[in-house]
Symmetry: C2
Subunit: 268 residues, 2 copies
DNA sequence: GACAAAGGAG
DNA sequence: CTCCTTTGTC
């Protein structure tokens, strides 16, 4: 089958509901990983997604964070608790197996500033997620770690690498860790398919006309194991939601895979 | 000329701007008196009304109250300060002369409860407005006192007169004062033209499905002197804005006058 | 239930 | 700049 996956930091699912529903109908991804839903479980607009034809798994929190995974096919497995304090302490982690693929959806902490304890938490969160994946899966399993990773790995992934060097999101330590994580057996799919493209997934609300001036960052990623990398046919940023009224500060990243091309040997 | 006047408690002019502009284009009143604009002077969306073809006079206040008068013809005179503490203390009073008619726009205090000092303030506000009019005008002058008066004068003006008797907005003391004010030489135009109609201009947001069940109050009025009463051709409630998405809790009251029929002897 | 404001966050 | 929360008002 042709399988479409998407990640979208919605920055408030209630505020973004009309835009998100419209986008889902246009794109019809088989799996959509959402971050920053910013609501408690009881306030999640579950019915709207069911009416749109999706199965929904979500993990909410008051005010901040919160992640959700929408799937057209019923999830085969769901992991909402890892028993790792760093991953479970806030609503930032959700894993779902759908269509034979394990999808790990994370909202990695932003980090606030390199001096802030939040930065240590960010690095720990990245390490723990990688460790959790390593403990459960091998690199030959079809696996997609996606979400708002909050790291721009390379100079071409920020609008002004000179000026932003050392800033949170483009700090040498997180960039090194990002590469180290890929070393386990993950491919940065967008960069893999578009080695030279300067494309972003986030533009700060606070910078005036940041979208028009393209003052962005590539923070949202699809990290895939080798079998999925070989099955990939497309991975691109969809700018349209960021250009509409009442946008999120992020825009979706979408990928297409030919799952039939997979030599599946899933242990999970 | 055929002259159309309207009053509309918008409950937040910024939140109501799309609805209000649409309604102005449909109705095209020569004068529109707005209450509860709920913004400071600097935040008033002046340009939007100028683009819609209106002259605008407004008196704002942070968070609460605030009144405005829109006119197609430039105002001939404007009164923003009365030198009466009760009328000037909060942004609830604005008077404009347009097309030869004096239009007094008030947002009368709601009163909170009959025991609350706010109720005394409400009664004082009504008396002071009547006194101010008496000091400046005679009953033979074309004059329109309109706005959210916050008094339902008669049993047919509330959805359940038994249950609501003594409640603020339908308290014997305010109803008596309302009648006393009419005694000076003002006509309750809607009731004058429709002696038996049970029609409302306000439905509480807090009552579930209050509009569908018609659990309303007639709180917004057009009080006119005799010459205007004789010039009146129509006075009706426009339900449509209250039935649209994101409505105010009030809906407009609209009247039409044949000003040529006036024997004008304006001293003001 | 829906406004506006003030405070915290990205 | 845009979220969400809390408080106050009607």
């Amino acid at each position: 089958m042709v399988w479409k996956a998407a990640t979208f930091n919605v920055n408030g699912i209630r505020a973004r509901l009309p835009l998100l529903l419209e986008w889902l109908q246009e794109q019809r991804p088989h799996v959509a990983c959402l971050q920053e839903i910013k609501c408690q479980d009881k306030d999640f607009p579950h019915d709207a997604f069911v009416e749109a034809g999706y199965h929904v798994v979500w993990k909410g929190q008051k005010s901040f964070n919160g992640v959700a995974v929408l799937t057209t096919d019923p999830p085969q497995e769901v992991v909402r608790e890892t028993d790792r304090e760093v991953l479970d302490g806030e609503a930032r982690f959700l894993a779902v197996k759908t269509c034979g693929v394990w999808v790990i959806n994370t909202y990695v902490p932003q980090g606030r500033s390199p001096q802030d304890p939040a930065f240590g938490y960010k690095l720990a969160f990245l390490k723990e997620t990688a460790q959790w994946i390593d403990a459960r899966f091998a690199p030959d399993v079809p696996l997609l770690w996606t979400g708002d990773i909050n790291v721009a790995p390379d100079p071409q992934d920020v609008y002004d690498p000179q000026r932003l060097d050392g800033e949170v999101g483009f700090h040498p330590e997180e960039r090194r860790l990002f590469k180290e994580i890929l070393g386990w057996g993950l491919v940065d799919l967008f960069r893999h398919l578009h080695p030279d493209e300067k494309q972003f997934t986030f533009w700060d609300y606070r910078l005036p006309r940041s979208v028009q001036r393209n003052l962005g960052w590539r923070l949202d990623h699809m990290l895939v194991t080798e079998p999925l990398a070989q099955a990939a046919r497309d991975c691109r940023v969809d700018m349209t939601p960021r250009q509409k009224p009442k946008p999120s500060d992020h825009t979706p990243l979408v990928a297409v895979f030919h799952l039939d091309a997979l030599s599946v040997s899933s242990p999970g």
